[in-house]
């Protein structure tokens, strides 16, 4: 087909660049600068898809984001995307599109039977229908509804495109590049403000591209071009087209998505497809314009029926005639411009005007051109299945509830105009309370909650002169509050056509005894009868009517339907529109791809991870990693086909028998300096630190102010006023914040500095009976005997020309050391330890074995220090100093904390010595008791004891100190297990702690 609806010249397209595309398997051509919609219309294609509910044939009704019908499945290269709006997709080579919601084809759609059965599918039919028999819901109704619901097909393949995010800050964000937008941007920018101008379409100018106006002796489109060039040349201005500001959030933060790539023929490989902008603006000027409203009449949804101004846009911007034999149907003057433009291109039209007359200049011009105008007329019905063929029109009676006569007029298109709806979505999202303007039948912004100002037709200024005045003056005022430059731009003289007022009549009566559908919301197939039904059934709130009928929902968000729907409800309820109110405008204003929202937070960027300097070594030695917060720690080192449990047993047993090495870099390390350091630690820890000798480490416990255990770890005195604190991996940042808080807020008199050195030091724990021998090999000159380097000792030693900090501390309960070197040397330290320990049977061990070792020993960790336990519960009451104060001490005297039968940590062994006890199991006395079965406590950690070769767990149970020897049951509903257990000491191995001191 050869673009038979393209006029021979005119428009803003590049006719030298022909582009082909495929729609429903058929090849068509368009030009560079076309949208899919304009290219389809140029080829005479109006039938785009089928409607959601009734599967009625639908075509393009608008030229921008307000189009509710033109949703297609888009294919480009290997990707596919559903629900793409043909009015927003720019034509590039290689596009293939297919109609949605139809089978087997858009021309013959089996689902079209719904249209003939439409009386059975009124609003809310599914609320009433799928109720019985009950068993049908899961097996019949739900699968059927799921299959029928939704439009288009989402790709199951990963999205191959890149998406970016960008943060930007500006003084003034101008949304929309119509006359008010450009003028305000110019005015603010010339006054020195940092300005961002955003336009959602591929061309700047808005209505100035189609209206026959002059500004300062230039045609509207010429003024746009010059103004945009001027703005682009200014260093304080960012000018963005193809950029939709779709959300307005608190603190003047707005989000915008920019279409960066889809319109390019050969984009560079790393060019993002779309970019999400987070814009923080000191002030926002909303110049989003207004949307033409459809008129409501019987069968007003046929392909070929579109908004009058959109028809003019297709003609003036794209050189496309949406129809060669149109009827123009209006209740206001703006549609006459369309008639005049079509006449200028040789197309005769008939204008039907619901008003009895109009003296506006544009109407007089149309009359003078000989355009056939029929006042006081309406469209009673239309015909034509896949495209409109004729309209049944008639003169309206006095009360406008019927027709005096009806005649049928053949046509190939109907261009409608039911007046204008200001686009107030962004203003409303910002919290602006809208007011109803009865003269124009519109909701307008009223009271700003944030720093935003609405200008132009979005604020009800429908003439060019008003818009320009509004734009230039507001642009200056707002920018001057920020810049104080006082540079005001003069407002150019403009010329435009004269328009009068509209008719407050927009819903045509049906012909006598006919029950045709008159659609209000095209996307959701909501007709006048549906709203009438909702009101009849008692729905009064507009929010309820919306949800019952689906009016204004889905991607369209009621752009063309909201106001007509509100007016209809107000008529039915005999209320004025402001009493009915309006529904909530929520972001996004238009559909946004999930990819845009996610940006680059995929793959490696999905979540930042932390790795130790020895991570590469772990990877090379088959470490299986586990998340410890953001850290990746080796969980175990897999050998052959070992399972996690087998590997953990092997590694733990090797520590018990030989020597093991564990990467402990992730443990928090805090450097503490200052003359009051010892006093500070003495207050922070529950035990005494004032007299800790230099060169010695001490285990300490911290409480929160409420008395709960906060964290534990060892702190070493490196010098008189210098300490090295270690924390658990999980609490490293929290402990540092805790210390900072007390130093800055509670005890500002203490002269102490704390700084995290976690990253400065790579750490290795060397544990096992042969660890001393290994240490001696690493430091042959040093006395590593028990006397020379006792338990809780510290040495700073030279290690291969660098410094090593060596601590004799143990988490495993074995004779053990922790060795730190500066991180750059971490891997070499690790290799050296492995090398020196080879003949001692050294093996690396991961967190799983580490867990086994500490559980056997009864050492507490995060699963016990869970924010709900006090020191007594963890058998750490011996750590509570009676002589000094410390954080949380007073809370410990609370009654609940001093009861005799408080929870206490215990050991748990299954009676059969075989069945592992799932962590989280709860302990009960009687496994067969009915609910609620009194719970004595829970299992906090479980392992397979490598010392005794049977399962062992730690648990925190009520009156634990008196439960030892008792037989209970561990119940795990999740694992469906009931395990008879015996309560034993928490210290299952080496209860006297001889090994660590050996």
């Amino acid at each position: 087909m050869s673009q038979e609806f393209r006029i021979s010249s005119g428009g803003l397209i590049d006719r030298s660049k022909e582009i082909s595309f495929i729609f429903n398997g058929k090849k068509y051509t368009g030009y560079k600068g076309d949208t899919l919609a304009s290219a389809l219309l140029a080829n005479g294609v109006h039938l785009i898809g089928r409607s959601f509910k009734y599967h009625r044939p639908r075509g393009i009704i608008a030229a921008g984001v307000e189009d509710a019908n033109g949703k297609v499945q888009l294919y480009k290269d290997s990707i596919t995307e559903p629900n793409v709006n043909v009015t927003e997709v720019e034509l590039v080579e290689g596009l293939r599109i297919e109609s949605q919601n139809c089978w087997p084809s858009v021309n013959f759609d089996v689902g079209g039977i719904n249209n003939f059965l439409n009386r059975f599918f009124p609003a809310g039919f599914y609320y009433k229908t799928f109720m019985w028999p009950k068993s049908f819901w899961y097996n019949v109704y739900e699968p059927f509804i799921r299959k029928a619901a939704g439009m288009g097909k989402a790709s199951l393949d990963p999205d191959p495109d890149r998406y970016e995010h960008q943060y930007e800050h500006c003084d003034v964000l101008v949304v929309g590049s119509g006359p008010s937008g450009i003028s305000s941007a110019l005015s603010a920018a010339k006054n020195g403000a940092r300005v961002i101008l955003a336009e959602d379409k591929a061309r700047f100018g808005g209505s100035l591209l189609t209206d026959n106006v002059t500004i300062g002796n230039k045609k509207g489109d010429e003024w746009v071009e010059d103004s945009i060039s001027e703005l682009k040349s200014m260093p304080n201005v960012i000018v963005k087209k193809r950029s939709q500001v779709f959300g307005y959030y608190d603190h003047n933060m707005l989000v915008m998505f920019e279409r960066c790539k889809d319109h390019l023929k050969n984009p560079e490989p790393y060019t993002p497809r779309q970019r999400l902008w987070y814009i923080r603006a000191k002030h926002v000027l909303i110049s989003t314009g207004s949307i033409e409203r459809p008129l409501i009449f019987a069968n007003n949804d046929r392909p070929g029926i579109m908004l009058a101004t959109s028809a003019r846009e297709y003609l003036k911007v794209y050189g496309v005639l949406p129809g060669k034999n149109p009827i123009i149907f209006t209740n206001n003057d703006t549609a006459y411009e369309t008639a005049i433009e079509f006449k200028a291109n040789g197309i005769e039209s008939i204008v039907l005007d619901t008003r009895k007359s109009s003296n506006a200049g544009v109407v007089q011009e149309a009359k003078a051109l000989g355009i056939d105008i029929k006042f006081n007329h309406g469209i009673a019905n239309t015909s034509g299945y896949k495209k409109v063929k004729s309209a049944t029109v008639g003169e309206l009676n006095e009360s406008k509830n019927g027709y005096k006569n009806l005649t049928t007029i053949p046509c190939d298109s109907i261009f409608v105009s039911g007046n204008w709806t200001p686009t107030v979505h962004l203003a409303s999202q910002s919290g602006n309370k809208l007011k109803y303007e009865s003269e124009t039948d519109t909701f307008l912004p009223n009271q700003s909650r944030q720093q935003e100002t609405v200008i132009g037709s979005a604020n009800g200024s429908f003439t060019l002169k008003e818009s320009l005045t509004d734009g230039f003056s507001k642009g200056y005022q707002i920018s001057d509050e920020i810049t104080k430059n006082g540079i005001e731009t003069s407002i150019p003289i403009s010329d435009e056509k004269d328009f009068g007022s509209h008719d407050k009549f927009w819903c045509m009566p049906l012909p006598n005894k006919k029950h045709y559908k008159r659609f209000v919301d095209f996307q959701n197939d909501v007709a006048v009868s549906d709203i009438q039904l909702a009101v009849r059934e008692g729905f009064r709130s507009i929010e309820h009517v919306k949800r019952y009928t689906t009016l204004g929902m889905a991607t369209d968000q009621g752009k063309t339907s909201n106001l007509n729907g509100l007016q209809l409800v107000s008529d039915l309820e005999k209320k004025i529109v402001p009493e009915v109110g309006h529904t909530t405008f929520r972001p996004p204003y238009t559909s946004v791809t999930i990819g845009t929202i996610i940006g680059r937070e995929v793959g490696k960027n999905y979540r930042a991870t932390r790795k130790s300097p020895m991570h590469e070594w772990h990877e090379k030695h088959n470490a299986v990693f586990v998340d410890a917060g953001l850290w990746l720690r080796p969980r175990f080192y897999k050998r052959g086909n070992e399972t996690l449990q087998e590997a953990a047993k092997r590694e733990a047993l090797n520590v018990r028998q030989n020597v093991g090495i564990c990467d402990v870099t992730s443990l928090g390390k805090i450097d503490i300096k200052g003359t009051d350091s010892a006093e500070f630690l003495n207050r922070v820890y529950t035990n005494a630190f004032l007299k800790l000798p230099v060169g010695k480490a001490r285990y300490g416990v911290m409480l929160r102010e409420d008395g709960m255990v906060f964290d534990d770890g060892t702190t070493t005195r490196l010098a008189e006023n210098h300490f090295h604190m270690t924390t658990t991996t999980a609490q490293a940042a929290n402990v540092l914040s805790h210390l900072e808080y007390y130093l800055q807020v509670v005890w500002p008199e203490l002269d102490v500095n704390v700084v995290s050195t976690t990253e400065q030091w790579a750490g290795a724990a060397i544990a096992g009976p042969k660890s001393r021998e290994l240490l001696q090999r690493l430091f042959p000159e040093e006395d590593m005997s028990n006397e020379g380097f006792p338990f809780m000792g510290f040495k700073e030693l030279e290690f291969k020309n660098t410094i090593a900090r060596v601590f004799r501390i143990s988490f495993s309960g074995e004779l053990a050391y922790e060795m730190n070197v500066m991180s750059d040397y971490g891997e070499e330290m690790w290799n050296e330890i492995i090398s020196q320990g080879k003949d001692l049977g050294i093996q690396p061990y991961g967190t799983e074995a580490l867990s086994t070792l500490r559980i056997e020993m009864g050492h507490v960790a995060g699963s016990e220090i869970d924010g709900r336990t006090i020191a007594y519960d963890l058998s750490l009451e011996g750590m509570l100093s009676q002589k000094k104060d410390f954080i949380g001490k007073r809370s410990l005297s609370r009654k609940a904390f001093t009861e005799d039968n408080r929870e206490k940590i215990v050991g748990v062994v299954p009676i059969d010595k075989k069945t592992s006890i799932p962590e989280g199991s709860y302990l009960v006395e009687n496994a067969k008791a009915g609910f609620p079965n009194p719970k004595l406590g829970h299992v906090s950690a479980s392992c397979w004891s490598v010392e005794y070769d049977n399962p062992f767990s730690l648990a925190i149970i009520k009156d634990g100190k008196n439960k030892k020897g008792e037989k209970l049951f561990a119940v795990s509903p999740l694992k469906n297990k009931i395990i008879p257990v015996e309560i034993v000491s928490q210290h299952y191995v080496d209860p006297e702690g001889k090994r660590v001191r050996s």
């Binding site: 500006c170 923080r280 700084v755 990253e759 400065q760 991180s823 750059d824 040397y825």
Partner: protein, 195 residues
């Protein structure tokens, strides 16, 4: 002992991203900053030391939020009230510091191994930052520094030059891999030369 720098396993040298048909001079240049000394200086509350009496290579400690100072071999960053970070290629900088202030006036902490640092140079350097950090860079100039986040990673950014724009971006060492990926992935759109 041989050193393994934080990014030695991540930083792949050569041209990356949209470099085709571009003048190499217009590409971003990204390198790992290594062999440096980093010290945090934190003045004790009770110290009467006048920071105006302290200078390194003629550069004083900046005492306003967001300011840094120095040259290509030495950077002094304001971190918080009475806290600075000193970054230097001078192996013996600690001796220079020690000559002017004592342990009783400052807590001086060696953090030389605790940071991964990327230098990003080129006209799009700030655009790389804008892709992952909410920082307002409109008035970010030479000798400005800031702490922010980049793709969820805490970073310090120091503009050491503005012609061409040259940024030192620092992250905690453990985040090195993620940090490097976030920065270089963001730079692919502009094209970059990893040196």
């Amino acid at each position: 002992m041989s050193k393994i720098t934080p990014l030695s396993n991540s930083h792949e040298l050569g041209l990356h991203g949209n470099c085709k048909d571009k003048d190499e001079a217009n590409l971003l240049v990204i390198r790992e900053v290594t062999n440096i000394k980093i010290y945090q200086l934190s003045k004790f509350k009770k110290s009467n030391f006048d920071i105006n009496n302290f200078s390194l290579d003629g550069y004083k400690l900046p005492n306003e939020s967001g300011l840094s100072t120095g040259n290509e071999n030495l950077r002094i960053l304001w971190q918080a009230p009475n806290i600075w970070m000193i970054i230097s290629y001078n192996e013996n900088i600690i001796q220079e510091i020690g000559k002017q202030c004592s342990d009783s006036d400052f807590a001086i902490t060696d953090l030389s191994h605790s940071r991964a640092i990327l230098e990003v140079k080129g006209k799009d350097a700030l655009n790389v930052i804008k892709k992952g950090s909410p920082l307002n860079l409109n008035n970010f100039r030479k000798n400005n520094c800031a702490n922010s986040v980049y793709h969820g990673i805490t970073v310090s950014i120091d503009m050491i030059n503005d012609d061409p724009i040259t940024l030192n971006i620092m992250a905690l060492r453990s985040f090195a891999g993620s940090f490097h990926h976030a920065i270089t992935d963001a730079s692919l759109e502009f094209g970059f030369n990893a040196i």
